[in-house]
Symmetry: C2
Subunit: 149 residues, 2 copies
């Protein structure tokens, strides 16, 4: 992201990377826009149809995501535009997968069906796990945050 955008900003908690990310994409719509962009959506109308979002809100969120360097907007004649994920945007893939996998585990009743993320060969993507350099599992209890110096 552009340095000038991080510099003058009013962060909820300036030293915490979690808080900064939440400030940038932590609302109901931004993450779903990013999800759909990863799934191939690229124009205003495509997002509009997939999300059932109000037009003015979509306008606002797209602009915000472009401003934050997550989406790239290119004109394709007239008012027509194409929105593409930037490298930073694509890098949110891990986050989206983490949200997805948690939802699969905890937001569906046993009998409810849900969509599944698969690799190019059609095999389900394995569950993300956090491990130390030596491969040992790390949890919220066994890790801790070292404050910025």
């Amino acid at each position: 992201m552009d340095v000038t955008l991080t510099a003058g900003r009013n962060w909820t908690d300036p030293a915490c990377p979690v808080a900064r990310t939440v400030d940038l994409v932590g609302d109901r719509w931004s993450l779903l826009i990013i999800r759909d962009a990863m799934d191939g959506a690229a124009t205003f109308t495509e997002f509009l149809e997939r999300l059932q979002i109000a037009r003015n809100i979509l306008t606002d969120r797209l602009r915000r995501l472009v401003d934050h360097g997550i989406l790239d907007r290119s004109a394709t004649g007239g008012r027509r535009h194409t929105y593409q994920l930037t490298e930073a945007g694509k890098d949110l893939f891990t986050t989206v997968v983490a949200l997805r996998q948690w939802g699969e585990r905890h937001a569906f009743a046993p009998h409810e069906t849900h969509s599944v993320l698969v690799d190019p060969q059609g095999r389900p993507v394995p569950v993300l796990r956090i491990r130390g350099e030596d491969g040992s599992p790390i949890t919220a209890d066994t890790s801790h945050v070292r404050r910025a110096t």
Copy 2:
């Protein structure tokens, strides 16, 4: 989470696990409350002080998270309570780490310092990567969503 909670709910997109998760924790405060719970916060006042959140909003978010089975509330005499992450809540660790690592990479200017997540030995937690069963890296471009059947 309690099945009765998933059943009658008004989801933004009922078949999508990402959307369900975002419906449950995708607002500015919930994820930061969860972050602080993972960092040891347990009482109303502790959350209040760490987050600089309005009291009524904190009340609402804590109640919501308890209702969604992410936090557990236990009385400790009078109006005093302790909030603890449930198993589902602890399982959001992966998501919080993903948000944190994205923020570290994209929401800080090169010269800015930020806190670091470390394992019990004090070593930084490695970057989360999504890999197929065979260990090959998977990105937004190489994966896709198989719709619910």
